[in-house]
Structure formats: structure tokens, C-alpha cells
């Protein structure tokens, strides 16, 4: 039987390099998947994962084991993704009417959309909080776990999922009309 992630994390927080190594190699794939879901591109996901890996040792000192390690880690990932997005957005804000531009771009995308394109269009068309929620829930995470990661109530997650569904449906019917 292997030790739990939380035990490893606590040991790592206390300076155990081997524990840290095992821990991160266990969680790496899941972290990368989440990063991909949050960012929507392999390149972005790699950058994001790298940022997280780089800063994790320092952050780990604050881990106390009162949440599951993956929950804690994914929370860090979501926040890091936010920060990345914010940086990207501040670059793009120079162009006025960004929302409109984005919508037009999506409409253009939607026309020659393969399924993957549709997926990305769908994800990027969602408001940020809905996208984060979906990224977690699509990773087979329960609403409860997603709620713990995002620091909101379970009900909020359920509401966001239904909101996200509406957005997707809306997007689909827009596509169908064009």
C-alpha cells in the first residue's frame, strides 16, 4: 500500500525531497490535464504546469493537510490559470470592444469547426468561473470536490454547471443557425 498524497505532501512540506518527487510525479499527469482544460492549448498548458511546478516547493510550505493534496494543488492551478489569463487580457484590452471581437472570432471559428474546434470555442466562450468549474468537473471530479477546489459551495457548482450547459446549448443553436 502506498502512502496517501497528503502524507507525502506533509513530508515534503517538512523538507523530504524524495517524498516531494514521488508526490509530484504522481500528480503531474492530472495537473497537466487540468491545465489543458483550463487553458485549452497544449502550449499554454505546458507553460502553466511549469509555472506551478516551479513555485510549488515554496507554496508547499503552507500546506497543512487540512484539505486533500489534489484539492489544494488544483486550487493553485486554477489561480495560476487566472493570473495567466489576466495577463493575456490586459494585453488585449488595448483593442476596444474585446468581447465583440471575441464573439466574432468564435462565430468565425464555429463555421469551420471540427469537434475539437467546437470544444475550444465552447470553452473559451464561457465566463471564467464557469470555465474553471467545467474544467474541474469534466475531469471526473465530483461537485463537492470542485467546490472545495474553488472555495465555493456545492450548490454554486451545480448552478454553474447548469449555467454552463445553457451557454453550450446557446452556442450550439447559434452554430446550427449559421
Amino acid at each position: 500500500m502506498n502512502s496517501s498524497d497528503t502524507d507525502l505532501a506533509l513530508a515534503a512540506a517538512d523538507g523530504d525531497a524524495a517524498a516531494f518527487s514521488v508526490l509530484l510525479s504522481r500528480c503531474y499527469d492530472g495537473l497537466f490535464r487540468l491545465a489543458f482544460r483550463l487553458t485549452g492549448s497544449q502550449h499554454e498548458a505546458e507553460d502553466l504546469t511549469q509555472d506551478i511546478c516551479a513555485s510549488l516547493p515554496a507554496k508547499l510550505a503552507a500546506f497543512r493537510g487540512d484539505a486533500q493534496f489534489t484539492t489544494w494543488l488544483y486550487r493553485i492551478a486554477v489561480n495560476a490559470a487566472h493570473d495567466r489569463r489576466r495577463r493575456t487580457t490586459s494585453l488585449m484590452k488595448a483593442a476596444a470592444g474585446w468581447g465583440e471581437w471575441e464573439q466574432n472570432r468564435q462565430a468565425a471559428n464555429a463555421e469551420n469547426a471540427a469537434q475539437v474546434n467546437w470544444l475550444m470555442t465552447a470553452m473559451t466562450g464561457l465566463p471564467e468561473d464557469l470555465r474553471d468549474t467545467l474544467a474541474l468537473v469534466l475531469d471526473d471530479m465530483t461537485h463537492r470536490q470542485a467546490a472545495a477546489v474553488l472555495g465555493v459551495s456545492e450548490g454554486t457548482i451545480s448552478w454553474r454547471i447548469s449555467e454552463a450547459k445553457k451557454h453550450l446549448r446557446c452556442l450550439r443553436s447559434t452554430e446550427d443557425q449559421t
Partner: protein, 652 residues
């Protein structure tokens, strides 16, 4: 195909790539490197357990965390990386990785394990306890050392009550949750309402396209949506305005049929917004069969109980509406209730309409909540209807929703086809829309059109009264299916014509005689109206210039303006019947034509029609008031009120 979310999940699963082995190795190495330098390059745990909990380190991190993450990441990474370079050169000889001696941690293919080359395996192997980086070994070591660790925390993470609760409460950096709560970048109030409409019916030149073909329909949803918008103090989305649905919202005093299923009447009158054109008014009145003899009804309520229905104007209004409707049912009728989303499945088995207590109890149990889909909602509703059907009875599914068409078939075309198939097997579908903000008017309309039913939008109890009580018979008992209208105009008399409304119901010319093409239905007692604005030859209102070399009109039509042909199928038959009547200039105006015209003008103003320019809401109000006539239900008075609202809203 379960639903959009499930699709998305599948797509996401397919699209998510595996991490690139080389970047994975690099990232793991980077992390290890940072870890090592952060810990002061110790490979094992520190010998002391009293590391500062909230001291210098934590203070520094709190500060860094409160910076932007970019700054924090850059700062920590830079510091740590710089530290590592020194440390690495001085203490850790970077030997070539010797994977042979290293058991590979779970989840990593051997080729990806290069990360460990930065940790100098030789050093690790000499470490007191951590000879190998291996799950089992680390586990063993942890377990053996756990006893010497602070007991409180150990008991905490093994699930018992944490002895040092204060630690637990400061574990997560406070800035994390705050950041989650920060406002989203993208606009949140995306308008999710979807309306079906086409470009306003354009002007047709008679010599080029003398024939106009469209499907009759009795939907009224558009009027209720327009009313709801105006009552809420804003002009409706022009796409939400379907002029024919606004006109058809009102009952008109057309000549009743004499023995036939229905009676078309044609009249010609002046156009209020253009003195040089004329309005051709086609009014159709359906027969009202003897209500006492009506066939027994099998009704399946398919009710959306998703979380979004939990608003006063949705599920509670729906319950009240159905309560009203129950009063109209007979002892021979049967009712069943199927829900989708949240509480799934059939919540009321087919029950005799006489058993009001059971039906009302089931209605009261309905509870909006949950986002999980009852996938087979629609299928189950149809299956229930099929089980209830007996010879000579009328079966109908009534879908009540706020736009959440999460009914198990996510592809709209597949959904339409499914509904159309069921229609052919004898079960009809009506759609009732509730609430705003999520309304998928387009799907509602498409479903009802394919299901031979009515799409109605219910925003008030009064509207429920109209749809489910006053006009219930018409909504539930079709007297004519696939009603199509074709008008051929005579180019020697009429230069141009324009069909007002019906943009979404235009048929191709050849569809008229093709009995396989679906069209709208007329229920018992319904009246349906269609208006053409026509420009007689030589009128100054003619917008197009005649072609210099154009073909000369045949002119054989004599004085006739055009010829109206109407096809319909009596319910249960597959062959259509034809009614034909000529349109001439001297037809007397219908008694109720004035009010229909006022509504037509009102609708076109709301749509922003380019053909109604010299006319205002005030003119519409004047005309409507003048022609209001007998208004037993107060519908027309309400329309005048809406016109006033629209007039005030456009003033600023």
C-alpha cells in the same frame, strides 16, 4: 448522445493530450530543483520538527502572494533558481542519470524518468533513509517516522479530529479563495435567449415571382414575449417579434364555417400606413365541433424541473396554470406527469382526470432543483402517451420548460425528426414556455411546428387562462392538419406585393401540392389571419421601376387581383383537400380587419420594418381603439396598453 455536457466531456477527453514526456521531465526536474534549493538543498527532511510555522518564511510568502502571481512567480523562481545554480555547482555533482538503479515511480514511463538526473542518485542512495525514490520505500519510511511527528497533525490528516485546529485554519493561504472570487474577465450577462426569425418579408415583384406560398400557423408565443418585454420596460428584441403570431393572438369575428372544417374569407381594404397600397386580408375561421362530443384526451405533462425553473414566474406559475386547466378536463380524460432534470421520471402514472386530488398532489410535489438530466424525459413522455392511447382518443405531450431542452436528444435536427416521427404515429406535442432569460424560442417553435402543436409563452396567470382554459379545445383538438396557402397574383393588376409576417413559415412553391411537406395546423375554433400589402399597377407607391425590356404581362387574368388556393388535410388523413377562391378589388372588408391591421402595423413598427415609415405607435393606438369592437376577454384593451408602453419607450 446524452446531453451537451456529456458530449463536451467526451470531446474533452479525446482532445486532452498526454503530457509531453520531455516537458514533463523538465518540469519535474525544475520542481525538484526548486524544492531542493528551497529546502536549503537537503535531500531528506530536516532533522528538527519545530520549523517556523508563521515566521519569516510565511511572512515572506504572504507578501509574495499579495503581489500579482506573475511577480510572485518570477521573484520566487528567480531567487530559488539563482540559489540553485550555486548550490548545484557546489554541492551536487551533476552526474549522468543512472536509471538502472532507480525504481521508477508509478505513473512514469521509464523514458520519462530523466527528471531524477538533477538529484544526483548517488547522493540519494547514500541518504540515511531515502535510498530510493520509490512509492513503497517512501511510504515505509514515512510510516516509521510518523510516530515521532507532532501527534496533533498526524491525527488530523488520518481523519480523526484535528488536535491543533488553529493550524488547520491557516493552512490555505487566504489570498487563494479571494482570488477565486474576483470578477470574471468575460461579460457574464450573455443573452442566452434564442429567437427564431428571418429577415422581414421582402417586397416581391409580381412579374418576377407571382406566387407566394406559406404555412398557416396558430402559435402565439411571440405576442406574449413582446408583452413581457414591454411590461418590463424595454422594447422587445426585433427578432422576437413575429408579426403573424401577434395578429393570431387575438380571436376575430370571422364568418363561421357552414358544415366544412373551416371557412376562408378574403377581403381587400386600405393600408393605414400607405394610402397608395391595399391590404389583402385572408381570414380563416375553424369550426368549433360540439365540445360535448369531443374525444377523450390523453395528456402527458413533460415538465422541466431543472434548477433554473425555481423562479416565481416559472414552476409555481406552471403549477397554477395546470391547476386551471384541470377544471377543463372530463372524467374520461387521463393525465400523466413526467419530469426531467433533477427528480427524474414519471411522477404521476396515468390518472383519471376525475381524481383531482392525486393530480394536484403530484403537481405540488414538483420541486425545481438539480442539474442532472433525466435523459429519457421526452422518450418516456412519448412512451407513456403511447401506453395511454386507445382507439378514438387524442394523445398529446405538453412540454413545459424555460428553455432547458435537455430532454435526452441534444442534436436539434434529431430532436425535430424524433418529434415528427411521433407526430406521424399519432401523438402530438405542444410547448409551453415559461420565464425569461433562458428562453429558447427557436427550439420551442421548431418543436411545436414539427409536433403539430402550439407553442405558447406563458408569462402571467391570465395568459395561462387564455391558453389552457379559454382556448384549450383549440389547442388540443386539431380540425385541419398541414394547412398551406398559396396566392398567385395577377401581374396585370398587381405590380408588387408583400406578405406581412410568416417569415419563418415560407414554403417553396412546389411544396404546396406535396402532401409530404408538413405545415401548420388549425385547432377547433381557431381563427387565423394572413395579410398581404399589395401595390396595384400604376400606383405611385410602386417601389420598383418596371423593366424596360421585361416580358409583357399576359394579362389574361382580367380584373382579378389574384387567386387564393388553400390546402388542408382533415385529421387522420394523408391526402389534402383544396379550396380555391379568387381575390378581386371589390371584396368587402372583413368586420374585424381594422384591429388585425392595427396589430400588424404595431408588430412591424417593433420589428423596425422599412415599409412602415409614415406611421407611428400613436396611429396604431388610434386605429386599435377605434376598431376594438367587442372585447369580452380584454385582450385587445391589453394590446392598446402595450402600444402605449412601446410609444413611451421609443420617445427617449
Amino acid at each position: 448522445m446524452n446531453n451537451d455536457l456529456e458530449d463536451l466531456k467526451q470531446a474533452m477527453r479525446a482532445a486532452t493530450p498526454d503530457p509531453d514526456p520531455s516537458s514533463k521531465a523538465a518540469h519535474l526536474a525544475l520542481a525538484q530543483k526548486n524544492f531542493v534549493s528551497f529546502q536549503g538543498s537537503r535531500n531528506d527532511r530536516r532533522p528538527i520538527s519545530n520549523r517556523p510555522k508563521r515566521g519569516i518564511w510565511m511572512g515572506a510568502f504572504a507578501m509574495l502572494n499579495s503581489l500579482t502571481s506573475r511577480a510572485a512567480l518570477t521573484a520566487t523562481t528567480a531567487v530559488v533558481a539563482a540559489g540553485f545554480v550555486v548550490v548545484n555547482w557546489l554541492e551536487v555533482a551533476p552526474p549522468k542519470s543512472d536509471l538502472g538503479g532507480l525504481p521508477v515511480p508509478e505513473g512514469i514511463a521509464p523514458a520519462e524518468a530523466g527528471f531524477s538526473n538533477r538529484i544526483a542518485p548517488s547522493q540519494l542512495e547514500q541518504g540515511a533513509e531515502s535510498a530510493e525514490i520509490d512509492d513503497t520505500a517512501v511510504t515505509e519510511r514515512l510510516r516509521s517516522s510518523v510516530g515521532s511527528k507532532a501527534e496533533g497533525r498526524v491525527s488530523g490528516f488520518f481523519g480523526a479530529a484535528p488536535a491543533d485546529a488553529p493550524h488547520a485554519s491557516i493552512a490555505a493561504p487566504p489570498t487563494l479563495s479571494q482570488r477565486v472570487a474576483e470578477p470574471a474577465v468575460l461579460p457574464h450577462d450573455v443573452d442566452r435567449e434564442v429567437f427564431a426569425n428571418e429577415d422581414p418579408g421582402g417586397l416581391q415583384v409580381t412579374s418576377e415571382t407571382p406566387v407566394s406560398t406559406f404555412s398557416m400557423d396558430v402559435d402565439t408565443a411571440s405576442y406574449a414575449i413582446v408583452r413581457n418585454s414591454l411590461m418590463n420596460g424595454h422594447l422587445p428584441n426585433p427578432d422576437a417579434v413575429r408579426v403573424e403570431e401577434m395578429i393570431n393572438y387575438f380571436p376575430y369575428d370571422y364568418p363561421a364555417p357552414d358544415g366544412a372544417a373551416f371557412q376562408p374569407t378574403v377581403s381587400v381594404g386600405p393600408t393605414p400606413w400607405n394610402p397608395d397600397t391595399r391590404l389583402v386580408h385572408i381570414g380563416i375561421q375553424g369550426a368549433l365541433p360540439d365540445i360535448e362530443d369531443r374525444a377523450p384526451l390523453n395528456l402527458v405533462f413533460l415538465i422541466d424541473t431543472s434548477g433554473s425553473m425555481n423562479e416565481p414566474n416559472k414552476l409555481p406559475l406552471l403549477k397554477q396554470s395546470f391547476r386551471l386547466m384541470l377544471g377543463q378536463l372530463r372524467p374520461s380524460d387521463q393525465v400523466s406527469i413526467v419530469t426531467y432534470a433533477g427528480s427524474a421520471g414519471q411522477i404521476l402514472a396515468p390518472t383519471n382526470a376525475l381524481d383531482r386530488a392525486a393530480i394536484l398532489a403530484a403537481l405540488d410535489q414538483l420541486d425545481a432543483g438539480g442539474s442532472t438530466a433525466g435523459h429519457a424525459g421526452l422518450r418516456q413522455a412519448y412512451a407513456t402517451a403511447a401506453a395511454m392511447a386507445k382507439e378514438g382518443e387524442v394523445s398529446r405531450v405538453i412540454l413545459a420548460t424555460d428553455g432547458d431542452f435537455n430532454v435526452g436528444i441534444s442534436d436539434p435536427d434529431a430532436l425535430k425528426k424524433y418529434v415528427a416521427d411521433k407526430r406521424d404515429s399519432g401523438t402530438y406535442l405542444s410547448v409551453l414556455g415559461f420565464g425569461r432569460g433562458n428562453l429558447n424560442d427557436a427550439t420551442m417553435q421548431a418543436l411545436a411546428q414539427n409536433g403539430n402543436g402550439q407553442a405558447a409563452y406563458i408569462d402571467t396567470l391570465a395568459e395561462a387562462q387564455k391558453v389552457l382554459v379559454d382556448q384549450l379545445t383549440g389547442a388540443l383538438f386539431p380540425i385541419a392538419n398541414d394547412v398551406k396557402i398559396q396566392v398567385e397574383f395577377n401581374p396585370s393588376q398587381i405590380a408588387e406585393y408583400r406578405l406581412i409576417g410568416y417569415e419563418t413559415r415560407v414554403l417553396r412553391r412546389e411544396d404546396f401540392n406535396n402532401d409530404a411537406v408538413d405545415a401548420g395546423d388549425i385547432g377547433a375554433g381557431h381563427s387565423v389571419t394572413a395579410l398581404y400589402e399589395v401595390t396595384p399597377v400604376g400606383s405611385p407607391a410602386q417601389l420598383t421601376t418596371s423593366l424596360r425590356y421585361g416580358a409583357v404581362a399576359s394579362g389574361d387574368g382580367g380584373e382579378e387581383w389574384g387567386f387564393l388556393a388553400l390546402r388542408y388535410k382533415p385529421p387522420g388523413t394523408a391526402t389534402s383537400q383544396l379550396i380555391e377562391t379568387p381575390i378581386t378589388a371589390d371584396l368587402a372588408p372583413l368586420p374585424d380587419a381594422g384591429f388585425a391591421t392595427a396589430i400588424a402595423g404595431f408588430g412591424q413598427l417593433l420589428r423596425g420594418s422599412t415599409y412602415v415609415t409614415e406611421w407611428s405607435f400613436e396611429d396604431a393606438i388610434a386605429l386599435a381603439v377605434e376598431t376594438k369592437g367587442d372585447d369580452p376577454f380584454g385582450y385587445r384593451a391589453e394590446a392598446v396598453q402595450l402600444m402605449r408602453l412601446a410609444a413611451s419607450l421609443t420617445e427617449d
